[in-house]
Subunit: 284 residues, 2 copies
């Protein structure tokens, strides 16, 4: 089943745009529980409240082979009708990107993956060529350092030829790198399987992206622990049907409690987030 | 021991700037041999001809847990005085980058890592903070798509304020994104552990980087299978002491033969590459 169809189905069935980030950190988890058991309990407590799950590979890699084993088993444990986004932010040259795509989609069985655009089209193509899988290209990330390069003003390629002699006196359209990444991503979206990662912490940038790309699927992290304001994010990030965005929350949900009631607490917070989003969407 | 010291020591002892890329691909490897055995034989045949090894994580991830196990054991098998660069091109927000740095430096035991700059300083800082480890920031990559974003003309941040009204008629210094990434990397290099990845396939860009950063350590892939011309690369990439660069070759060395003599063949090609480089360096 195509990622986008699976996502739409889950979002409809569970009336939810919530994605739960499965980012296990032994320091924050309840004591004495394994990563796999922790994830299984979180999933069991929330699978009817979400449209997808998003494990970030870093937290599993940091735990070594045991962590990667838990990751694979976690993905397998997610109900078949809920898609899983492998948040790995990979990006390498074509030959190598192919190996990463194989790892994420075939070995770990992810329905979608996040990828980093710095190496350009041929580094993303091996992912995009899995037509049934989703590919979320990093556009404007939620961290403070995101602006270091993503926020740079650039001169689009088409305007860079022959600029030396005669264009200094002409006004030029200047846009930020992240806007250009969004444009190229839209251009490369021939299979309709590309989405963009745009952080909740930069609502104005989110607005710009949504305005330029009314139908693009957006993966929006940064709500909750990172401080993004929900109502502004929904206002700026949803499409005209009040959908087309995945709202991710990780720490605020999975670490809602450090006690034995952690799964129950996670369910409560996930449900509240779903309801807050729907309240905005459906003006309940 | 600091990565830079370990690298300098190995380069001096083996009179070599050659890095062998350990990128196991079952399709290209001799039949019937495991990844670990393949790597062990390559390392045993070449460790006195190189200044470092560079396993690319993608090829191990594509093989699942068994691949990651072989990666860990491969790194452990490398002689203690030869540094290992974990080519993983990671890049994520601070909290998550910390987990990736832990995986690469602590779990897998790499002496250095490659990282992707798109997410900015706070995504690189957790790597840089391992002061004894090396951090190679992707600058101008060897693939064709590298130009898609890295080659964009940008307006440096310091010039972007108040551009709207009065600067259209003024000439501005325009540089490419990859040059700006190099500048920022140099600015962030307070511990002296940062290097840049610059592909051999773009010698003019390599020259620009070397001119602007005479002492920066450069990791240069793209010789051999990717087609970079050795002499031009050395001319443009070495520092004034005819060092300061790591010349990586992967496929041309490790797949020199698909027969039982693969390790011997790898040794021959690695030795020839070392000698060609030294011929240029020392004008033998």
């Amino acid at each position: 089943m195509k990622f986008t169809d699976k996502l739409a189905y889950a979002a409809k069935k569970n009336k939810s745009l919530v994605c739960v980030g499965l980012d296990p950190d032994p320091v924050l988890m309840p004591p004495g529980i394994s990563v796999l058991e922790f994830n299984m309990q979180i999933i069991s407590a929330t699978y009817d409240l979400v449209c997808c799950y998003k494990p970030n590979f870093a937290f599993y890699e940091a735990l070594g082979l045991g962590g990667m084993d838990a990751l694979k088993k976690t993905i397998k444990f997610v109900p078949k009708d809920i898609p899983v986004i492998g948040d790995a932010k990979r990006g390498d040259i074509g030959n190598t990107a192919k190996a990463y795509a194989k790892a994420l989609f075939e070995y770990y069985g992810c329905d979608a993956a996040t990828v980093s655009p710095y190496l350009g089209f041929d580094s993303l193509e091996p992912f995009i060529n899995y037509k049934d899988k989703g590919v979320f290209i990093l556009c404007r990330t939620s961290n403070a350092g995101g602006a270091d390069f993503q926020g740079l003003k650039i001169i689009p390629m088409s305007n860079t030829t022959n600029t030396t002699n005669n264009s200094i006196n002409k006004p030029r359209v200047e846009e930020s790198l992240f806007e250009y990444v969004a444009e190229k991503s839209a251009e490369w979206n021939k299979y309709g399987n590309i989405g963009l990662v745009v952080g909740a912490t930069y609502p104005e940038e989110l607005k710009l992206i949504r305005q330029s790309h009314p139908e693009m699927l957006l993966l929006i992290p940064g709500i909750g622990a990172q401080g993004g304001d929900l109502e502004t994010v929904l206002h700026n990030g949803l499409n005209s049907n009040k959908e087309g965005a995945i709202i991710n929350s990780s720490r605020q949900i999975i670490y809602a409690s450090k006690g034995k009631d952690f799964a129950e607490a996670a369910r409560k917070v996930a449900g509240e987030l779903r309801d807050s989003i729907n309240k905005y969407r459906f003006r309940i």
